[in-house]
């Protein structure tokens, strides 16, 4: 979550003096000692919580806390979120045209909310009409954190609504893929309609079939039997032609491309059973199988519906992650006295605009720096782990983040022409070229259809000689129907649905269930370094020299957003003295920061910076600095009163557990390889630290080269899994057999990947692989079991022992038992999370 990272996370502090333990009045987390106010009745862990609680109390919404106490899980608590953004861009015409639907006087918009956790959030958000005049209705959906707001545009502006939502702790984002979502919703409803039709036909067809079976022994009047048969016929054809169309189309598609899928044997059963049943009904002789056929359609559709639904939950969650990219930016219009800053949507930017980018904000477009100097964090764009200093005239790119002072940038390229836009073009290209994953069941289906055809032919010929055409047709049709892989067709989607659901609960969002099949097999594992193996931000690893300076450095760096400053703050938290603040702080453009702490002049910066300002290193510290630099550390010096007294080594260290996770992945059949945009030295060091051979670690790899490596492996026919977080990984993620984006990744990588881990590090990847292996094992077991059923049924049919009643009993019994075993076995594999 890009914004959250730039918010002081003081609420999670754990080292608190016992005498000062206090819980935040809003979020309930421990308040850090430095922020406790002894006189105040209520304590707050951060300004966000304070503001939200004030708003809630002022609006008469204090009941929220009672509700939350009942519904919320204390373990998931977090400080109130705030993005500190202005929502002015929401009022732009371009934005409204894209996102707002107007009906008569009222307007309606769907927005995604950050920070939605429990039922109390539903209550709170749906009270919106009570405290924002002009809002008519608000309806929140917990499953995808999406709120539908109906409002009167004459009385309230959209930006006001958004700002009010943020003021109660839910930063707002517009939904991204509205059209795609609408299509998805329609497809799901269509599936549900078909399921309903199939259910009603199946129920009624069984009703009449039951009458026929019970009267089969004799005393059924011929006219009544005809009525039952014809009713069954009509119901059967309704089921085959309306809901069953899905299988007929799938089979037709497979035939046209000369491939096989599971729809093919199903369609053969439907068509053969339908035609034979019709012939037998018209000629009033022989059997009809419409009850079995309608039930078949119904059961298979039910399996597909459950899978589609589970899959949608996962993709909704990815949508929410993707929506975090801001939509607005500030454009500077006019000059000098007439200068105005206008907030516009990024889509409105044109080449030649002057945009202002404040500290902590992402850059909206490519351009040249016109005013200001700062540091730019390009970790997501290029994989470089250290932010680079930029000055007037430098070219900067969209997708990087400003971590220093305010900048003004003259836009040169927007949208598709920008560097990130060109990379997205590569992503689209890779996605278009990526062959659909050949499913396990589809591979099976090829064999299945071949064997089935041979057996059907043999049965037909044998009975043609033995008992004539009529019996031959009857027995062949019976064979085709009972051989239909109903159990497999039902159990496989349900097994996958369970797997997708379990992955989602562990924070692993799987966009395509076929991912499980690929991950279970192992293969080449291409890893990005920055942000994937490492934290993507420097951490303090060594402090050499005067330790008394630690408190001073902590006070000075507390005010800066620079990644090094944040690393130092985190590392020196225990040294900070409460109440000591730095004054006159200046972030200098040549790589340093200075200020006054307790009357002394303190300066922290690169060694060049310190030397330039007259604080040279003694021989001892200089030797330490050389040693640290030799192992790849970023070296920073700290000086008091122009005397350099300590040097600090920082490094983009591997995440905790990266080594264990990689070893676990090697054990599971993967061959890891590191591809990074960072310099070779840093990549090789990280590789050896996590236990990889530095020979498989390549540095200074361009996004195009990552893509080329993936294509090379694919061309050699080797399965490959790509794991990354950045824009520079996106094209490779899209092309790889399985692309997995990790926590904190760029929007582009989320869009390109097949799976997303919402927890940092590689440990979730190991869980995903384990889940995949269990899922595939379950599918294999299902297959074996349903083949046993089919084998028995086919042999009986060949011997002429199968009549419609046997088929009607065999089909649901086989489905139910395979299904039961599938659900039991995947549940039986449930284990506590090992690496989390």
């Amino acid at each position: 979550m890009e914004f959250a990272d730039y918010r002081p996370r003081t609420g999670t502090a754990t080292t608190v003096d016992d005498t000062h333990v206090a819980a935040c009045a809003h979020c309930g987390l421990t308040v850090p000692a430095a922020l406790v106010e002894p006189e105040s009745a209520e304590q707050y862990c951060c300004s966000g919580c304070r503001a939200v609680r004030a708003t809630l109390l002022a609006s008469g919404l204090a009941d929220y806390y009672d509700l939350r106490a009942r519904f919320d899980d204390a373990a998931t608590r977090e400080p109130a979120r705030s993005s500190r953004r202005s929502y002015a861009a929401f009022d732009r015409e371009v934005f409204q045209r894209q996102h707002v639907r107007t009906t008569g006087e009222l307007a309606r918009i769907d927005l995604l909310l950050e920070g939605v956790r429990c039922a109390a959030c539903v209550w709170l958000v749906e009270k919106l009409p009570r405290f924002v005049p002009g809002v008519r209705a608000a309806e929140l959906r917990l499953s995808d954190s999406r709120v539908s707001i109906t409002y009167d545009p004459q009385r309230v502006e959209l930006s006001t609504i958004a700002a009010r939502l943020e003021s109660i702790g839910y930063p707002v984002h517009p939904a991204h893929s509205e059209i795609q979502r609408e299509l998805g919703k329609r497809a799901e409803r269509r599936l549900l309609v078909e399921l309903g039709v199939a259910g009603v036909s199946a129920g009624n067809a069984m009703l009449v079939a039951f009458a026929l079976y019970s009267g089969a022994s004799g005393d059924l009047q011929a006219s009544h039997a005809a009525l039952f048969r014809w009713t069954g016929l009509v119901l059967g054809w309704i089921a085959i032609l309306w809901p069953g169309q899905r299988f007929l189309r799938g089979a037709y598609g497979a035939l046209r491309t000369r491939t096989a899928n599971l729809d093919l044997p199903i369609a053969i059963a439907l068509v053969a059973g339908g035609l034979a049943g019709t012939w037998n009904t018209v000629t009033a002789r022989g059997d009809s199988y419409f009850d079995s056929l309608t039930l078949l359609v119904f059961l298979l559709l039910a399996g597909r519906y459950v899978q589609a639904r589970q899959q949608r939950f996962a993709s909704d969650a990815v949508d929410l992650m993707r929506a975090l990219t801001p939509v607005g930016c500030r454009v500077v219009r006019g000059a000098g006295q007439d200068e105005v800053i206008e907030e516009v949507t990024i889509a409105e930017l044109v080449s030649g605009d002057l945009v202002e980018v404040r500290s902590g904000e992402p850059l909206p477009a490519d351009g040249a720096l016109e005013v200001g100097a700062s540091c730019i964090d390009r970790a997501l764009l290029t994989g470089e782990s250290t932010p680079v200093a930029v000055g007037v005239g430098d070219v900067v790119h969209a997708g990087s983040q400003n971590v220093g002072g305010t900048l003004r940038i003259r836009v040169t390229e927007v949208g598709a022409a920008s560097r990130i836009g060109r990379l997205m073009g590569l992503v689209q290209e890779s996605l278009a070229e990526k062959p659909p994953i050949e499913r396990f069941t589809d591979r099976i289906a090829g064999w299945f259809v071949g064997i089935l055809t041979a057996l059907a032919l043999a049965t037909f010929l044998y009975w043609l000689r033995a008992a004539g055409l009529g019996v031959a047709i009857d027995n062949t049709v019976a064979l085709l129907i009972v051989a239909c892989p109903c159990a497999l067709g039902l159990a496989t989607p349900l097994t996958l649905a369970v797997a997708v659901g379990r992955a989602a609960r562990a924070g692993l969002l799987v966009k395509d269930a076929a991912v499980f099949e690929r991950l279970a097999r192992g293969g080449h594992l291409l890893l990005d370094k920055t942000g994937t193996i490492t934290r993507g931000a420097p951490t303090l690893v060594e402090w050499v020299g005067d330790t008394q300076l630690r408190a001073d450095v902590a006070a000075l760096e507390a005010v800066s957003l620079h990644p090094i400053a944040r690393a130092l703050c985190a590392a020196l938290e225990g040294d900070a003295r409460s109440g000591v603040r730095a004054t006159d702080v200046e972030e200098l453009l040549d790589g340093g920061i200075r200020g006054r702490v307790l009357g002394a002049d303190v300066r922290v910066g690169s060694l060049e910076h310190l030397a330039h300002h007259g604080a040279a290193l003694g021989p001892e510290l200089a030797a330490a600095a050389r040693r640290l630099e030799a192992v790849g550390c970023t070296v920073v010096g700290a000086a008091r009163e122009s005397r350099c007294a300590a040097i600090l080594g920082l490094i983009d260290a591997p995440r905790d557990g990266a080594r264990d996770a990689l070893r676990a992945l090697v054990d599971r059949g993967f061959t890891p390889e590191v591809l990074s945009g960072d310099v070779q030295g840093a990549v090789a060091r990280v590789a050896s630290e996590v236990g990889l051979d530095p020979a498989v670690a390549r540095g200074a790899v361009e996004p195009e080269e990552k893509l080329a490596r993936v294509r090379e492996l694919l061309a050699q026919g080797r399965p490959c899994v790509m794991v990354g977080d950045g824009v520079n990984d996106a094209a490779a993620l899209a092309a790889a057999g399985v692309g997995i984006a990790v926590h904190g990744g760029a929007e582009a990588s989320l869009a390109a990947a097949d799976a997303y881990s919402s927890r940092p590090g590689l440990a979730p990847l190991v869980e995903l692989v384990d889940l995949s292996r269990r899922t595939l094992a379950t599918i294999h077991r299902n297959l074996a079991l349903s083949l046993v059923y089919n084998g028995v049924a086919v042999v009986s049919a060949m011997l002429g022992l199968v009549d419609p009643l046997v088929a009607a009993i065999l089909m649901p019994v086989s489905s139910a038992s395979v299904l039961g075993l599938a659900l039991l076995s995947i549940r039986g594999g449930q284990r506590p999370r090992q690496l989390a």
């Binding site: 009941d63 009672d66 509700l67 039922a119 539903v122 209550w123 749906e126 309806e139 929140l140 959906r141 917990l142 499953s143 919703k185 799901e188 409803r189 549900l192 309609v193 309903g196 039709v197 259910g199 009603v200 129920g203 009624n204 009703l207 009449v208 009047q221 009544h224 009525l227 039952f228 009713t231």
Partner: protein, 58 residues
Amino acid sequence: MSVIYIVLPLALALGGGALAAFLWAVRKGQFDDLETPAIRIALEDDVAPVTRPGRGSG
């Protein structure tokens, strides 16, 4: 036995009626969100006194 000519169409009509109701519900979006409505109904009653304008004595 000719009662079957009335009962069978009746059974079909009942099934058809249920199907029509189901299709109506699907098209109205009743099945789009299966989670939140269950919570919403719990919130309405249990929450401590919230004065509701326009709800007269019942």
